[in-house]
């Protein structure tokens, strides 16, 4: 049977890992100019267009520990980029929301980031580019579908 023969390609991780590092290296100087850390930008992106009900839920959504984002939220709140409103129905939880100022900051950073990314994607012909983005969106969703926590 020919199934599961070793294929003749580099491991996915050997390609995706370095690519991820490159993308982060491209983001870093942009975010620095916008006074945002990587985690802060990730939080802003995750809050785009929706309210999140607990910090734990937000942490899980972005693949972080709940203790790790606390100081991030503190700073974002100090900078008036997000609001942390206590839930009247359960005073243990915070309702997390982007401010208008926060959405502007997020959008400004994203525009610049995607400009760099477009430069990278420019290497690809338009068919491969479309297929790449389509495949990436499917695979990036995998952690939460294929390998959902039991």
């Amino acid at each position: 049977m020919a199934a599961h023969e070793p294929t003749d390609r580099p491991d996915l991780a050997a390609m995706v890992g370095p690519l991820a590092r490159l993308l982060m290296a491209l983001e870093e100087p942009v975010l620095e100019r916008h006074d945002l850390t990587m985690w802060a930008y990730t939080v802003l992106s995750s809050l785009r267009g929706r309210e999140v009900r607990t910090q734990s839920a937000l942490a899980e959504a972005i693949g972080a520990d709940k203790t790790r984002i606390i100081s991030v939220l503190d700073h974002l709140q100090d900078d008036r980029l997000i609001t942390r409103r206590p839930d009247p129905a359960d005073r243990r939880v915070y309702l997390l929301c982007l401010t208008e100022r926060g959405e502007r900051a997020r959008a400004a950073a994203q525009t610049e980031i995607q400009r760099h990314e477009e430069e990278l994607l420019g290497q690809l012909n338009s068919a491969d580019r479309a297929a790449f983005l389509r495949a990436l969106q499917a695979l990036a969703a995998a952690p939460f579908t294929v390998f959902a926590p039991s």
Copy 2:
């Protein structure tokens, strides 16, 4: 002009990053069964079919600090998976080579890793799959072409 309008897609980093983490999480248990660390496997993969002349060159090739791989090489040598032969022409440098045993270990781990990866790629239709791999190989090479150190 319509150039550089904000596109309507998630940031590449927001998709590639989590995907990289997923792939590493898939590799981890496999490598553990084969008594390999992630860095050890990366070294074996980098030495596949070629001799590398210095540890610094190897470190750079895999995006690691030269001090970081020393203990990795120590263990690989202890396990007889690689050889570190002093270069007769320059006694400061080590010639790094996979042993047969090392190549077998690498191949065995890779077969299993790619089996898991194939499962993931199974979500894609064959055209997208081919385009995805093609695009990934082009973009993963970018760090060393587009953004070469000056």
